[in-house]
C-alpha cells in the first residue's frame, strides 16, 4: 500500500501512475443492449481517500462498480487494482450492493449475513468457530447492530438492513470498499453511523468509493469526487472537480437543487 501518497492535493496519484492507484480504470466501455451505459471511461482513484461517484440516473455509476467486481462484462477497457488486473486482485475488495438488490425475505438471521463476509476464509467446509462469531459480532457492534444478531433480516428497517450489509463488508477486512448508494432510503441516524464507519475506514488508510446520489452532502462526506454521465465529466478533489460548471455538464438541464457546489475545501 502506498498510503504515504495519500489524499492531499499536491500528492495525488497522477493519471499516468497506474500502479500507485488502488483502483484505476482505462477506456472502460460497457453496454446493455445497443446503448453504452459507460463509454470509454478513465478513472484513477486515490489511495486512502473517500471518493463519491456522482451523476444522473442511468449515467453508469453502478455499472462502474459492477465492472470492477466482474458482475458485468465490459466490451473493452482495463481495470487495475494496485496495478494488476482486477480479476486477480478481487480479494482486496469489499462490496456493499444496493439494499434493494436482494430479497430480504431470505431465510437468514443478521449474523448469518455478516458471516458471509468471512466466506473466503471459511472456504467450503470449515466450521464457524467462536473466533469467527466474535469477529462478526465486532463488525455488527461497529455499525451499532449487535443487539439484532439473531433477528431475521426481513424484520429490520431499511437503515438496519443497510448497516448489516456494511457489517458484512467490514468482516471482509478489505483494502478497497465499494458501496452502491449506501444512503439510499435510510434514516438520518443510519446515515450518520455509516459515514462515521466509512471515515474511520479511510483514516485506517483504506480506500472508500461510493456511488452517491445526494449532491447536498458530497462536500460534507467525501474528499474526492468522480463525475460521470456515460462518459467521464471530471475527477479530482471535491474542491477541484465538484464545481457548478462540471455539475451542469453532468446533469444538463436536469440539475437538482444544488446548494453547495464548489464551496468545499
Amino acid at each position: 500500500m502506498s498510503i504515504e501518497l495519500a489524499t492531499d492535493d499536491g500528492q495525488a496519484v497522477l493519471p499516468g501512475d497506474l500502479s500507485q492507484s488502488p483502483l484505476a480504470i482505462r477506456g472502460l466501455t460497457v453496454s446493455y443492449g445497443d446503448k453504452p451505459a459507460v463509454f470509454s471511461v478513465d478513472a484513477t482513484f486515490q489511495p486512502g481517500a473517500m471518493t463519491a461517484i456522482v451523476g444522473p440516473n442511468g449515467a453508469g455509476k453502478s455499472t462502474i462498480l459492477k465492472s470492477v467486481l466482474g458482475i458485468v462484462r465490459p466490451l473493452s477497457g482495463q481495470i487495475l487494482i494496485h496495478g494488476k488486473p482486477a480479476a486477480r486482485q478481487i480479494h482486496l475488495v469489499a462490496y456493499v450492493p444496493q439494499r434493494a438488490s436482494v430479497d430480504w425475505d431470505f431465510p437468514a438471521r443478521v449474523i448469518d449475513v455478516v458471516l458471509m463476509g468471512l466466506s473466503r476464509e471459511l472456504g467450503l467446509l470449515r466450521r464457524v468457530r467462536r473466533t469467527h462469531l466474535d469477529r462478526a459480532m465486532a463488525c455488527l457492534a461497529r455499525v451499532g447492530m449487535e443487539r439484532f444478531a439473531d433477528r431475521q433480516i426481513g424484520q429490520l428497517s431499511g437503515g438496519q438492513q443497510q448497516r448489516v450489509f456494511l457489517a458484512r463488508a467490514l468482516a471482509q477486512d478489505a483494502q478497497i470498499y465499494l458501496l452502491d448508494e449506501p444512503f439510499a432510503g435510510v434514516d438520518a441516524a443510519t446515515e450518520a453511523a455509516i459515514i462515521d464507519v466509512l471515515k474511520s475506514l479511510r483514516d485506517e488508510g483504506r480506500t472508500v468509493i461510493a456511488v452517491h446520489h445526494d449532491l447536498s452532502t458530497v462536500s460534507a462526506y467525501f474528499d474526492h469526487v468522480f463525475l460521470i454521465n456515460t462518459t467521464r465529466i471530471a475527477e479530482g478533489t471535491v474542491a477541484q472537480a465538484f464545481t457548478s460548471e462540471n455539475l451542469h455538464a453532468a446533469y444538463g438541464g436536469r440539475l437538482p437543487a444544488m446548494p453547495a457546489a464548489g464551496q468545499a475545501g
Binding site: 466482474g70 431465510p107 437468514a108 466466506s119 467450503l124 426481513g154
Partner: protein
C-alpha cells in the same frame, strides 16, 4: 399384511418414494429461493422426448440408455432456454415455458407415432410412474434384507434412487456456503470470488439428475410436487435456511410415507375396493402439508418490506 408381504410389496416402493421425494426436495429449497422452482417441472417434461428417443434407439425399456436420453434432453433444454433468454431478451420463466411445452409435446408425439405398444411406456407412465409395480419378488420376509441372493433381485430403481438421494445430499452439504451466498446475493457472491455461474449450473444439473432419476421411477407428478411443496411448506416453519432444509426433508418423507399408505388403503377404509395412484396421492399429501403450513406455520407472513 404380514412381514413377508410388506417387505416384498410395500417396502421397496415406499423407500423409492421417500428417496425420490428427498432427492427433489433438497435442491428444491434453493430453486425456490432463486425463483427457479419451475425448473424441476421443466426438466421432468423435457426428459420425455429423450427417454422416447433412447427407447427407439435401443428398442428396450432399460435404465441406463433412458437415463442418458433424459439427461441429453435436459442438457439440450438448458441450452435452449439460455439461448432463447439471451437472443429474445426475455425473462427466464417465459423461455422455460416455451422450451418445456415444446419438448414435452414432441415427446408425446414421438410416443404416439412410434410403436411402443409392446412395452410399458406411455403418457400415463410418464405422469404417474409405476411406483406400485416396483416390487421385490425375491423377498420372503425381513430376513431377506440380509440375504445377498434376495437383495440382488431388488428393483434396480431402489439402489439407483438411494444413490441419487445420497449424492444430492452430499453435494448440497459440500456446497452449502457458496450455494447460500450466491442464492441470497449474487452480486456480493461474485465480488467475493465465488464462481456464481458454475454454482447455479451445478444446482440445475443436480436438480436435473434428481428429476430424471425420480421421473423414471415415480413419474413427473411427484417430481413437480416435491421440488416445490416441501420446501415451500418448510419456509413457513422457520427463518433459518439450515432448519428449512431439515423441515423440507421431513415433509418430503412424511408425504411419501403417508401418500403411499393412503393410496393403498385409503379407498378400502372408505368402502371402495380399488387402490389409487400412489404417486398422485403422495403429491396430494405434499400439497396438503403445504396448505397446513400456509395456514398455521409460524413464519408464513411475508414481512412488510421497507
Amino acid at each position: 399384511m404380514n412381514g413377508a408381504e410388506f417387505v416384498a410389496l410395500s417396502l421397496p416402493p415406499i423407500l423409492i418414494g421417500v428417496f425420490a421425494a428427498i432427492a427433489c426436495a433438497v435442491p428444491g429449497n434453493f430453486l425456490l429461493l432463486r425463483r427457479q422452482a419451475l425448473i424441476g417441472d421443466a426438466i421432468s417434461h423435457v426428459a420425455l422426448p429423450g427417454i422416447v428417443v433412447a427407447f427407439l434407439i435401443t428398442g428396450a425399456v432399460t435404465t441406463w440408455p433412458m437415463m442418458l436420453g433424459a439427461a441429453g434432453a435436459a442438457i439440450i433444454a438448458v441450452v435452449l432456454i439460455e439461448l432463447i433468454r439471451r437472443l429474445g431478451r426475455i425473462e427466464v420463466g417465459a423461455a422455460m415455458g416455451v422450451v418445456f411445452t415444446t419438448m414435452f409435446t414432441a415427446g408425446v408425439l414421438l410416443l404416439e407415432q412410434s410403436d411402443t405398444s409392446s412395452v410399458h411406456l406411455d403418457v400415463e407412465h410418464a405422469l404417474y410412474g409405476n411406483l406400485e409395480s416396483l416390487i421385490w419378488l425375491d423377498a420372503t420376509g425381513w430376513t431377506s434384507l440380509a440375504d445377498p441372493a434376495a437383495l440382488a433381485g431388488l428393483p434396480p430403481e431402489l439402489p439407483r434412487m438411494a444413490v441419487v438421494a445420497l449424492l444430492v445430499g452430499l453435494l448440497t452439504l459440500l456446497l452449502w456456503r457458496p450455494l447460500t451466498i450466491s442464492t441470497f446475493d449474487e452480486g456480493f457472491a461474485r465480488a467475493a470470488g465465488l464462481p456464481v455461474t458454475a454454482i447455479g449450473l451445478l444446482l440445475v444439473i443436480m436438480a436435473a439428475v434428481a428429476a430424471v432419476a425420480a421421473f423414471d421411477a415415480v413419474g413427473s407428478i411427484i417430481v413437480i410436487a416435491m421440488f416445490i411443496c416441501p420446501p415451500a411448506a418448510a419456509r413457513m416453519m422457520t427463518n433459518r435456511l439450515d432448519h428449512q432444509m431439515g423441515w423440507s426433508i421431513g415433509f418430503a418423507t412424511v408425504s411419501a410415507l403417508s401418500g403411499y399408505v393412503l393410496a393403498g388403503y385409503g379407498p378400502l377404509w372408505l368402502g371402495f375396493d380399488n387402490s389409487i395412484s400412489a404417486a398422485g396421492m403422495i403429491a396430494v399429501m405434499s400439497g396438503l402439508i403445504l396448505a397446513i403450513a400456509a395456514r398455521f406455520g409460524p413464519c408464513r407472513a411475508r414481512v412488510a418490506g421497507s
